[in-house]
């Protein structure tokens, strides 16, 4: 299977959008492109199973290397393992749903859909890359569209939020660049040159002192993308100001770029430092989880609620990575998938409510279940998934993280796990408060009586995401089996060091 | 014809150059600025010709270059005057201080 297709499809879609005339043509092209991409992702999954079934035990499948810039050893090196496939599937789901919910974007629709597709291009490129530089390249591709999406189509103090988001993410990128160059100049291939190649780098051991120096750069840099405390403040403002689809992309895809990078680049390539700094990661993650949850409790705007809860939930990803056990890392990857789907769903539901009632303040809403049962049900499902109800993806992911974290017998790690577990109670509090006030209860405003329920495109978007959530939630063994081989390679690398030290 | 020492010519061209530079830095009138630039170009021309004559009398490289520069100066004057006319049309002034919309 040729992975470059994952770049060509969005590219073709983007060009198609530029050529097309009028909202109707544009959105159809965007949707077709996204659906094709989803199908392609499905085929990739099948091809992956086929390869594994034939006994192909290679770490990465469908590899392809093209020298990009010889003197610096930059390569366009692509390939996937289970983890990347999970992320690609997530991206494909969220992109289709995102395009569906933006169906009625009248204002500058060409540019809007173009940027959405461009963002997805960056994400796909990032997930298939096996060359740190190429990854960085695609990461940057994914940042700029966000700035424009929020700045142009956003609401509220959008310029401020867009600027804040772009600057903080750029700051993260700068840290990543330093970490990346640090890795590059610490590496030495057989031929004696430096390398950006992830697999090459994984084979060699970067000197401990260098690791200790550069790990924080790489980890915090990627961490900013996934809202590591205290660099999470772009999340609430950014999400709150972004248009619905952008919020979905931001939370569903973009925050996952960070988690994936933390795991694939920082932790995998610098395992000694990961062990040494584990306590810092866990500390920050625990703070994010518990403090994010409490901060969520006090929010009054639905988007802020979901944004802060994202901070809390992404803390689980970092916690899972920081605990450095196989189970917890599996859990972290599952949490990325799960959080991506459920936050996208949540934002979609909030967007649907907002587009009708023109308010997102919990206090002004109320009784929506009676007026728009479909949207309200979606809202409640997203909420229940967020609070970790079995049957939805959140439960399987969180429990895997908890179980993995608990395998670490150190008592401070235990305390961190207990605090993380405690956050699910706080989550229940804020989710039920939000749902209780806005969805249930007496009608917030008499003018709501005439509002309509979801349109077909909103329904399809919600059903698609709910389908994803249910598949992960009902059959988590499927996801675990998919990512297990990938995390095993990471664990092996980590284990060698653990015994070697 | 008595031999004029090279230094005298260089002195002349240097003086010309700095007169031009001074004009360029201090004048705000675009025509004057253009004229100053021409002065600087001509000082360079003198240098080229002088060095050609005194150091490599059997070659013509310096002369070629000065012809080249004269041509370019003419083209430059044409472009610059076109800009100046446009500026005058839009701002009714050719003072550079007046055209500051793009500042910061």
């Amino acid at each position: 299977m040729n992975l470059t297709l994952f770049l060509l499809f969005p590219l073709a879609t983007a060009i198609g959008i530029l050529i097309a005339k009028g909202l109707k043509q544009i959105r159809v092209i965007a949707l077709i492109g996204a659906v094709l991409q989803l199908i392609l992702s499905g085929k990739l999954l099948l091809a992956y199973y086929e390869q594994r079934a034939t006994g192909n035990q290679a770490q990465m499948l469908f590899e392809y290397i093209q020298k990009w810039y010889g003197p610096l050893n930059l390569e366009y090196h692509i390939g996937v393992d289970g983890i990347s496939i999970a992320m690609i599937l997530l991206t494909a789901f969220v992109v289709v749903a995102g395009i569906l919910v933006s169906w009625e974007t009248n204002h500058l629709s060409k540019e809007f859909f173009f940027l959405l597709v461009l963002l997805s291009l960056g994400a796909y490129g990032f997930f298939i890359s096996l060359d740190v530089f190429t990854m960085f390249f695609f990461l940057e591709v994914a940042v700029i569209p966000k700035f424009l999406l929020i700045g142009i189509w956003g609401s509220g103090k959008k310029e401020y939020s867009a600027m804040k988001l772009a600057l903080m993410l750029m700051g993260g990128s700068a840290l990543i660049l330093v970490g990346m160059l640090g890795i590059y100049f610490s590496s030495k291939t057989a031929a004696g040159a430096h390398s950006f190649d992830l697999l090459e780098l994984a084979k060699m051991n970067i000197p401990l002192a260098r690791q200790m120096l550069f790990f924080p750069f790489a980890f915090i840099g990627f961490g900013i993308f996934t809202a590591i405390f205290p660099f999470h403040t772009w999340v609430p403002d950014g999400h709150a100001s972004a248009p619905t689809a952008a919020s979905m992309f931001l939370a569903g895809i973009s925050m996952k770029l960070g988690g994936y990078g933390c795991l694939r680049v920082a932790t995998y390539l610098m395992p000694d430092a990961a062990h040494a700094y584990a306590w810092v990661i866990i500390l920050l993650a625990t703070i994010a989880i518990i403090y994010g949850a409490f901060a969520t409790m006090m929010q009054t705007d639905l988007k802020y609620i979901n944004a802060y809860s994202s901070v809390s939930h992404c803390g689980f990803v970092l916690l899972g990575i920081g605990m450095l056990t196989q189970t917890s890392i599996n859990g972290a990857v599952m949490q990325m998938v799960s959080h991506g789907l459920m936050t996208a769903l949540f934002f979609a539901a909030i967007g649907m409510v907002y587009s009708r009632t023109h308010t997102r303040m919990v206090a002004q809403l109320g009784g929506l279940l009676k007026i728009m049962p479909f949207i309200s049900t979606v809202f409640v499902i997203a909420g229940l998934c967020s609070l970790g109800l079995p049957g939805f993806s959140g439960f399987a992911a969180e429990m895997t993280v908890f179980m993995g974290s608990w395998q670490n017998p150190d008592k401070w790690y235990r305390l961190a796990t207990i605090l993380a577990c405690a956050s699910i109670v706080v989550t229940a509090v804020y989710i039920l408060r939000a749902a209780g006030k806005s969805i249930m209860g007496p009608l917030g405003n008499d003018s709501y009586k005439d509002l309509t329920d979801a349109k077909w495109y909103e329904k399809s978007a919600a059903i698609l995401l709910i389908f994803g959530i249910l598949v992960v939630g009902m059959a988590p063994f499927w996801l675990i089996n998919l990512i297990q081989p990938g995390t095993e390679f990471i664990m092996n690398k980590l284990a060698v060091v653990a015994t070697g030290l | 014809m008595t031999n004029i020492p090279l230094t005298n010519i260089l002195f002349l061209s240097t003086a010309l150059f700095f007169i031009g530079a001074y004009g360029l830095f201090t004048r705000r009138n675009m025509i004057t600025m253009l004229m100053s630039v021409e002065l600087m170009l001509n000082s360079v021309n003198i240098n080229f010709v002088a060095f050609n004559k005194y150091l490599y009398p059997d070659k013509l490289g310096g002369v070629f270059f000065s012809i080249f520069i004269i041509t370019i100066a003419a083209a430059e004057a044409a472009v610059a005057i076109a800009i100046i006319i446009n500026l005058y049309r839009s701002h009714h002034s050719i003072d550079v201080e007046d055209a500051s919309e793009m500042k910061y």
Binding site: T233, A295, M298, C421, A428, L432 | S100
Partner: protein, 643 residues
């Protein structure tokens, strides 16, 4: 039909029903939803009975001992090679008993709801939720894996949330639903950490292995006993934490506060969830892990005992003062579950010592019938008078003869009057307590007197007290669908006591010869009679006596009436401490300090650029001058400094 399929169908039928009704009910099945739900549950019930018959009479015993049979298992989520959630179906005596209880009571409630919820706009949704709950509860009792039980534990929690909040337009219902979910969620946190602890040391999540490893001498057991935290062994921590989860669901003090509020839900729901099934999940959980409690950690079992006994007494006292009939029943439920808990607590493992365990399960069995009957009866009453308050009732015995009679039977059963079912199970419990701990026995006796008193207070206030005050065009007693469950349950409330639970449900699978001497029964029965007589004296006709007594009791009455201010304490902790001392500062810090730092960074950059932007004047002449100055500088450097 093969056995695994047959057992799997018991929970799967309600699940299918939930999916069908949930997806299509609103539009297409709004009238037939009730019938679909009821029929599917009827099949489930029949299958449960068939399973029970098979298990107890045909295949359950090997060498005279009832076995734990795992009939199906699927690796659902593998955490690590030895730690995985294997979704499975396990049957053993308590499971089989619970299957029958849950499916039967649920069937009765479905039937009753056909009449009770008639004309409700979200009729189909209601039945969908009921099915979801039934599925979760059946899944819970069939669990073969401790994590599986946690999974279904959460699901029953959420279906309870959905059902309590069914009347979502009533703010009090929403608040009650939220409260129920959050309080039990808080307790579940303990359960979760307990599971993590136990799983860490035993390297398994499977019930069979877990119990085996922790109840017989093994390296696992010595490991978990050796590890300790704050001077308490990891085993005790694990068990106590698991018990906290159970206590939350079973409304044990001090996690009981959600149960009375949960009465905001439709009354049949209260009968199903908050009387017969979900609230006994905690008892079920302790019973499931009983060998570990009894054999390896009797200290943890003591905690179960004291919690149960205290809750039983505490709730009984409050029940005497409440005026909302559903709340009286709620506190009585809590009290009866307290009975079951301390019965487990006083029990030991093996042979005749397992009497308490057996008694607890027996009481669970009988209680399910008479308590759901009480709730359904209360439902019928509320349906008629449209109020929960005692003051709006009275003298209803003539207008609702069937309800009256069945309610009376249930009251007699719960009061422990022979030969009704409650008598037998309560006697066993008292016997077990008597043999093990006299203090508990005393509390239990006192509570049983109180129970008789408050139940008959309730009975007289509804059906006697004063002449009926209902306007002419009332519903009557309701439809046939509402009467049948009352009659069936009344029959069971009478005869369930004769079920040979002692032969079937014991800790070690061996039958116990129950031996309550007739002389032993004299004291409790006369106490119950005393309670009934006192209630008759006070409440049969409307007198000033109750108010006078209440006034004489003074502070105690007031405290009990206000439920000993536990709610207020919780409110203080959550509103004042969690919200004001943690939530608000967290939000404030985030907005002002963490985000403030980021903004400060931005501001500093902006200020700096403000300072130096003058240099970038945009004037070409200035740039040329800088350029020229630079060249001149370089020239000077080259001439004078470059040697």
């Amino acid at each position: 039909m093969s056995q695994p399929l047959q057992i799997a169908l018991i929970p799967l039928l309600p699940l299918a029903c939930f999916l069908v009704l949930g997806l299509f009910g609103r539009k297409h099945l709004s009238s037939s939803a009730g019938v679909i739900g009821t029929l599917s549950l009827l099949v489930s019930t029949l299958l449960s009975l068939q399973t029970a018959y098979q298990y107890f009479f045909v295949s359950g015993k090997v060498n005279g001992v009832f076995q734990k049979l795992v009939v199906f298992q699927y690796n659902w989520l593998e955490f690590a090679p030895d730690l995985s959630i294997n979704i499975g179906l396990m049957i053993d005596p308590i499971t089989v008993m619970m299957l029958v209880v849950v499916s039967f009571v649920s069937l009765m409630v479905h039937l009753f709801s056909l009449g009770y919820m008639k004309g409700e706009e979200r009729f189909a949704t209601y039945f969908a939720f009921l099915s979801l709950f039934t599925f979760s509860m059946l899944g819970l009792v069939l669990s073969s894996n401790i994590f599986q039980i946690y999974l279904f534990w959460e699901l029953v929690g959420v279906s309870s949330f959905l059902l309590i909040g069914f009347y979502f337009e009533k703010p009090s219902a929403v608040a009650a639903a939220k409260k129920a979910f959050i309080v039990t969620r808080f307790a579940d946190l303990g359960f979760l950490i307990g599971i993590l602890t136990l799983a860490f040391y035993t390297k398994t999540l499977d019930f069979g292995l877990l119990i085996e490893r922790l109840s017989t001498a093994s390296t696992y057991l010595s490991d978990i006993n050796a590890a300790s935290f704050l001077g308490i062994s990891a085993l005790s921590w694990g068990l106590v934490l698991v018990f906290i989860g159970g206590a939350g669901k079973s409304a044990m003090f001090p996690l009981h506060i959600w149960l009375p509020d949960a009465m905001e839900g439709p009354t049949p729901v209260s009968a199903l969830i908050h009387a017969a099934t979900m609230v006994v999940a905690g008892v079920f959980l302790v019973a499931r892990l009983f060998p570990v409690f009894a054999l390896s950690d009797p200290e943890a079992l003591k905690l179960v005992m004291y919690t149960g006994a205290f809750s039983a007494f505490f709730a009984a006292v409050i029940a005497c003062t409440q005026t909302d009939i559903k709340r009286v029943l709620a506190y009585s439920t809590m009290s009866q579950i307290g009975y079951m808990m301390f019965a487990l607590g006083v029990s030991k493992y093996g042979g005749e010592d397992g009497l308490g365990y057996m008694a607890s399960m027996f009481h669970l069995f009988t209680h399910a019938f008479f308590k759901s009957l009480l709730f359904l009866g209360a439902g019928a009453v509320i349906h008629m008078v449209h109020s929960n308050e005692m003051k709006d009732m009275g003298g209803l015995r003539k207008m609702m003869p069937i309800t009256h009679l069945s309610f009376l039977i249930a009251c007699l059963a719960i009061a422990g009057v022979p030969p009704f079912s409650g008598f037998f199970s309560k006697e066993e419990i008292l016997m077990a307590a008597f043999e093990s701990n006299r203090l508990i026995y005393g509390v239990a006796l006192l509570t049983s007197g109180l129970t008789a008193f408050y139940m008959f207070r309730l009975y007289y206030n509804i059906f006697w007290s004063k002449p009926a005050d209902v306007d002419g065009h009332h519903h009557g007693e309701g439809t046939l669908a509402m009467k049948i469950p009352l009659i069936l349950l009344a029959v069971l409330a009478v005869v369930a006591g004769f079920a040979p639970i002692a032969q079937w449900v014991t800790p070690d699978g061996l039958p116990i010869e129950s031996h309550v001497p007739i002389t032993f029964s004299i004291l409790p029965v006369s106490l119950a009679m005393g309670g009934i007589l006192l209630a008759t004296r006070m409440f049969k006709t409307q007198t000033e006596l109750p108010t006078q007594i209440a006034q004489q009791m003074g502070g105690i009455y007031k405290a009990a009436y206000h439920k000993f201010y536990i709610d207020e304490v919780y409110l203080f902790v959550t509103k004042k401490i969690l919200f004001n001392l943690i939530g608000k500062p967290a939000a404030w810090i985030d907005k002002n300090i963490v985000d403030g730092l980021m903004n400060l960074l931005g501001k500093i950059t902006a200020k700096l650029s403000e300072l130096i932007k003058g240099i970038q004047s945009g004037k070409v002449q200035d740039y040329a001058l800088y350029f020229f100055g630079g060249i001149a500088g370089l020239v000077l450097v080259f001439i004078y400094l470059w040697k």
